[in-house]
Point group: D2
Chain length 375, copies 4
Amino acid sequence: MKGLGVGLIGTGYMGKCHALAWNNVASVFGDVARPRLVTLAEVNAGLAAEKARELGFSRSTGNWRDLLNDPEIDVVSVTTPNAFHPEMAIAALEAGKHVWCEKPMAPHFQDAVGMRDAARRAGRVSAMGYNYIQNPVIRHIRRLLDEGAIGTANHVRAEMDEDFMADPAAPFYWKSEASSGYGALDDFAVHPLSLLFALFGHVESVVTDMVKPYATRPLKEGGARQVENHDIASTLFKLQGGISAVLMANRSAWGRKGRIALQIFGSRGSILYDQERMNEFQLYLADGRAEEQGFRTVLTAPHHRPYDRFVPAPGHGLGFNDLKTIECRELIAAIGGEKAHLIDFEDGLRMERSVHAMARAFNERRWVSVSELED
Amino acid sequence: MKGLGVGLIGTGYMGKCHALAWNNVASVFGDVARPRLVTLAEVNAGLAAEKARELGFSRSTGNWRDLLNDPEIDVVSVTTPNAFHPEMAIAALEAGKHVWCEKPMAPHFQDAVGMRDAARRAGRVSAMGYNYIQNPVIRHIRRLLDEGAIGTANHVRAEMDEDFMADPAAPFYWKSEASSGYGALDDFAVHPLSLLFALFGHVESVVTDMVKPYATRPLKEGGARQVENHDIASTLFKLQGGISAVLMANRSAWGRKGRIALQIFGSRGSILYDQERMNEFQLYLADGRAEEQGFRTVLTAPHHRPYDRFVPAPGHGLGFNDLKTIECRELIAAIGGEKAHLIDFEDGLRMERSVHAMARAFNERRWVSVSELED
Amino acid sequence: MKGLGVGLIGTGYMGKCHALAWNNVASVFGDVARPRLVTLAEVNAGLAAEKARELGFSRSTGNWRDLLNDPEIDVVSVTTPNAFHPEMAIAALEAGKHVWCEKPMAPHFQDAVGMRDAARRAGRVSAMGYNYIQNPVIRHIRRLLDEGAIGTANHVRAEMDEDFMADPAAPFYWKSEASSGYGALDDFAVHPLSLLFALFGHVESVVTDMVKPYATRPLKEGGARQVENHDIASTLFKLQGGISAVLMANRSAWGRKGRIALQIFGSRGSILYDQERMNEFQLYLADGRAEEQGFRTVLTAPHHRPYDRFVPAPGHGLGFNDLKTIECRELIAAIGGEKAHLIDFEDGLRMERSVHAMARAFNERRWVSVSELED
Amino acid sequence: MKGLGVGLIGTGYMGKCHALAWNNVASVFGDVARPRLVTLAEVNAGLAAEKARELGFSRSTGNWRDLLNDPEIDVVSVTTPNAFHPEMAIAALEAGKHVWCEKPMAPHFQDAVGMRDAARRAGRVSAMGYNYIQNPVIRHIRRLLDEGAIGTANHVRAEMDEDFMADPAAPFYWKSEASSGYGALDDFAVHPLSLLFALFGHVESVVTDMVKPYATRPLKEGGARQVENHDIASTLFKLQGGISAVLMANRSAWGRKGRIALQIFGSRGSILYDQERMNEFQLYLADGRAEEQGFRTVLTAPHHRPYDRFVPAPGHGLGFNDLKTIECRELIAAIGGEKAHLIDFEDGLRMERSVHAMARAFNERRWVSVSELED
C-alpha cells in the first residue's frame, strides 16, 4: 500500500505541528501506510530548504503553487496566516488535492463561503484543523452524551482564556487591528465553538457583549495606538435542540494559558472539562447512594480511544501534538472513504457563520439569528 | 455595657443561623456586650416555646407583633419566608427597632421599595442577610482590588450553582410557581450579585437568557404540572465603571452544592474564588520571573481579618455559620454608629432593581438599562 | 432538665474553643440541656474576670483549685499548657468531676499513666480533645470502612504538615527545647494518629527517622542556640490487623497550614482526605464501567451526620470550631451514659505509648514494638 | 551531516516508544541529523517485518545478534523484558555500539554490575530509559533547587502509585513471582528514585517495610497461588547531604494510574509535583506579603526548556511520549560528546544498589547502609 503524498505550506506553529503529525501517524496507529513527505513550501527557497531538512520533507520550494501540479502530492496542509487560506485552499482543491487547512477558514465570511463552494465542486476531502475535538476526552464525552449517561443535556458553559494579550504594556501588534478580525471572538472562541459543535451541533440565535480592556496599546516607536477590536467576548445563545449556552472568551486573562473549559449540565449528571488539564475530565452522576456522590476526576486511559495507540498504560498522558496526529489519522480515513471525525469546510462555514452572527449581535446590540447570515 | 436585646422571628434554616450568631458573637469577638436573646416568635406558641428553649431565648410567642412593643428588644431578626419580609420589617422599623432581614427583600419590587422607604423614615439600621460578603476571603479580595494588586479590573464572571432542583423526578413544589419569583434569577443569583456589589458596585445594563430544563414536574398525587419559572439564568451586563460581567445561575446543576464562583480579571493579575472551598482563593500576579508565575492557592489565616477572632492558626477553616457571626458583629457596629460592612435596605433595593431588570431583559428579549426601573 | 455545670481552666487557643463549644452545643444540637458556664479559671483574677465576661462565664477565679469543690460544676475543661494537664486532670477527677482535657495528655509518659489511672479510679468520664475525629468526613470514612465500601483496607499514609517552624530566621522558642518533647512527633503527629486510631485501632511496631532542618535557631538577644528536638518525623508501622502505615509529620513545611492528609488503600477502592479542605473527601470505587472510574470529590452535606445540625444545605461547610462543638456533644452523651465517639484517657494513653515507641525507635535506630513500653 | 544508524530490539510498550522518539527527534528539535531507522529485531522474522513496516525501520530480523555486526548501526535500543537486558546491552557495547536500555538494568544486582563494567570497558554511551527526569517540569525544579529558590532542601517525600495490581480477583501472573523481583520496590519505585537521583543525588542508608495486600491470587485454571513478592513498599532513607526522604510505592493503589508525586521542603519554600498532571508543578515561596502566599500552580510553557521545541504556546501540554523524545535528544548529544542529562549505567548501578539495600533492610528488619552492597 502506497502512502499519501503530502505537501505542506507554512512551517510556523501549526506547520510544524502538521509535519510532526504526518511523520508520526503511521508509527502511532500502525494501520495506515506511511505518508510520503514530498514537498514543503515556504516564503522563500532558502527557508523552505532548511525546514524541509528539519521536518523530513524530500523537496522544498519557495513557491507554494509548485505543489499544485505535482502528481506525487495527494493532500496539502495549509498552515499559513489566515488571510492566505482561501486562495491556497481553493487552488489546491481545484488542482484535485485534498486539503487540510488550519482554522479559522478566512477573515471574511464570503471567502469562507468560497472555500466551502470549492470543496463542494472538487469533491475532495476538506478538513479544518480543529484538533481539540480529537482529544480522547472529548470523544468520550460525546459517547457519554450519546449514551444518555447524564440524561438530557440542558445547559452548557464554555470558556476559552489565555493571557497573551493581557499585558497592557506590550506593544501594539496586528492582532489588535480590525483587519485581523473581531478579536477574541474569531481569534479563538472558535475553539470552544468547535467542541460545542462536535458535542451538540450548531448555534441558532445569539446575543453578545465585547470589551476592550485596554483602549490603546503602546507603539514600539513611542506613543500609543487605538485598539481596534475586542480582547474579551461573552455571548449567550441557543444550540440546536434548545440547549442554552454561554460562551466566554478572553485573550487578556492573566494566568490562563490554554484554558478551554466546558461545563455540561444534564438531567442526570454533569460533565466538566478543561484543556489545561487535557488528560482528564470530571463526571458527576446522580446515581448510587447520595452520601458518596461527587464529581469524579477521570484520567484518560487506553479504553478512551485512541489513547491506546499512544501509550498502553493509563494516566500517562497525551500532549497537544498528539491531538494533531489523531486528526491526521481521521483525515487519512476520510481520504480513504471511511467515516471520519472531522470538521469539513461545510461545517466549518456554519461555525464561521455563528461567529459573524455573534459580532453582528454585539454591533447592533440585539439578539441575532444565525440564519440572518446568508451564504 | 448592656447588650442589645434581640427578637427573632422564624426558626428555619436562617432563623437558627441568626440565633447561633447572636449567641456566639460576644464570645468570638470579645469586644461587644453579650446580646440578650429576649423573645423568639414562631407560628404558634408551642413551637415558639420549644425553639426558645433550644436556641436560648428567654421568652417566646406565637404572635410576632408581641416583639414590636417590647422595650427590651432593640433589634429584630426577620427570617421568615420572603413574602413576609415587607410586613414584618416595616412594622419593626416603625416600632423603632433595628432590623436584620434575610435576603431577598421581597418577591415584588414595590414591596422592596416600601421597605427601603420605611428604613429611610425610621432612621434605624436596616441590614440584609447577604452573609457571603462577610467571608474574610471576600474582604481580602476587596482589599486587593483597592490596593490595585491586580491592576484595573476589567472583566468578571460569576456563577452560582446548586442541584436542589436538578432531579426531574422530584415533585413539583412552590419554588416552581411563578408567584415565588423568576426562579434561579431571584432565588439565588442575588448571592453572587451581592459579591459583585461589594466588590465593584452596581449593575447598569443587562441582557438575559433563561431556561426551563424541565417543562413540567411530577405531582405527588400523580400527573404533572407546568413549571412556571426558570431554573437556569444567564446574563451579560455592565457594572459601574464599565467592567463587563457575566452572571450565571443554575439551581438544577447536578453536582454543584453551594458553588458561588468568581473569576476577576485585571490588568496585572487575576483572582478566583469558589464558595464551595470558602477558606481559600486563587491569585495570579503578573510579576516576578515568568517561569514561576501561576495561580497561587491562598488559605485563609489570622491575617485575613476577622478570621483571627475564630482561630489563631492559619488554614484551619471557618464554616458557613461563622459568616453570619461576622455579619452580626457588623450589625452591632452599625447600631453602635460605627462604619460597617453591610448591605442595607438602600443598597439591597438597588440589587433587587438589577434582578428585575434582568427579568425584563429576558421577557422583552433586549438589552435593558437598570435605570428603566423606577422606585 | 438541668444543664451540666462547666468549669474552664485556660483561655488560650483551645480554651476559647472549649468556651465556644459549651456556649453553642445546645443551640446547635437542640437535644441537650443548655450547659451552665459556671466558673472560668485563669492565671490571675483580673484576666479571669475579663475572660469570663467575654466568654460568658458567671464567675471567675485566679485559682483553678476553686473549681474542685464547687458543687455546681460537673465537668472541667483543661486547656492549659501540656505540662499542667496531669495535675489538673487528676485533681478534677479525684474531686469527682468529669474531665475534658486537651491533647496530648502529658509530656512524660508516666504522667499520662497517672492520668489514666486516676480516670479508672474515679469512674468519671475522661475525654481527650482530639477534635479532628469529629469531622463528619472522618465519621463517614469510618462508616465506609465498616461497610466494606473499599473492601479490606491494606495500606495507609498519613501526613501532618504546618509551617509555623519553617522559617530558620524565626527566634528560638520553647518548642525547640527538649523539655517540650520530641518535636513534630508528639507536638502534632498525635493528630493524624488520632485519626488512624479512630479508623483502624492501635499501633503495633514502629521504625522512625527524625530530622532537624535547622541545627540552630537565632536568639532574640543575638547569637544562636542549638535546636534540641526534631521538626520532621517519619515513621513506618503496623496497625492492628496488619495494615501497614506511614506517618509523616513536618512542622517546618513551608506552605502547609493545617494539612492532615490521609490516603487509605483497600481491595476495592481508595479514600483520600485532607483537613485543609475539611469539608470534602475523595473516594475511588472500583466498580461500574472502567471508563468512568475516578476519584470523586464528595462535599459534606446533611446526610453526613451531624453536619445537618449546623446547616440544612449541602456543600456550605463547617469550620474548625464546629468540630469542637460536635466533640462537646459527644462528651455530654458520654456523661449521660450513652455510647460516645471519644478518645478517653485509656485510649489516649495507648496513643501516647505509640509516640514514645516511635521516639525510642529513632533513638535506638531499630524497629520497636509498642508493647515494649510498659505502663 | 549523516544521522545515527539505529537498531531496535523489542517493540512492546517501550519499544514503540523508542521508535516514536527516533522517528520524531529531528523534526522536533531541528538541530540534529535525522536518525536512520536501520533494523528492528523481534522474536521472529514475521513479527519483526510487520513491526518494521509499522514503525518505519528499513530492515528487520528475528535474531537480535544481527544488529551487532551491522556497520550501519551506531546505537541499539534495548527494550526487551528486563531479564534480557544484560546479555543484549553487554553484547551491543562489546560490538562497539552505543546502548539505550530500558529500566531497570537487570533483575540481579551482579548482572547490573556486569553491564556497568561493560560500559566502562567499551567507552561507549550507555543510557538508561529513565524518561521522567526529562520532563521540563523536573528540569525546572532542578534549576530552582540549584538557584536556591526554596533555600536549602531538607526533606523529600516521593510516592509512586498505580493500580494495575489492585484487583484481588485478577489472575496470578509473573509479576507476583519472586523471580520477577521484589515487587513494587524494583518494579517501579525506581522511577521516583530516578527523580530523587536527578534532583538530589544518591541514597545512603535505608529502612524498609513491605506488604502483600493479597497473600494469594487466583489461578486462571482454578485455585490460587501464593504471592511471592510485595505490591507495597515504604522506605525511609537519607540522601547525600543529609536530606531525609520517604519513598512509598504501591502497585495496588486503586485509583492511581501514573502517580509519581514529589513533595520537596526547603528553608524558604516548597515544591510539589505529580506526574499524573505532568504539565504543571506547585511552588510555594516564603516571600512577599504573608496574606498572599500560597502554592502556585505553574503550567509548563516554552520558557521551561525544551517544551518550546514541541509547542510555542504555554499551557498546551506535552505527553508521555514527548519525554522519550527529549531523552533521545539527550542521547544524541551524549553520543556527540556533549554534556547530557542522562542516567548512564554508572549511575544506574548506584540506583540499583539502593533498591537492593532497601530489600535487604526489609528482610533483615534493620537500617542498612547502601555501601554494604559491594559491586
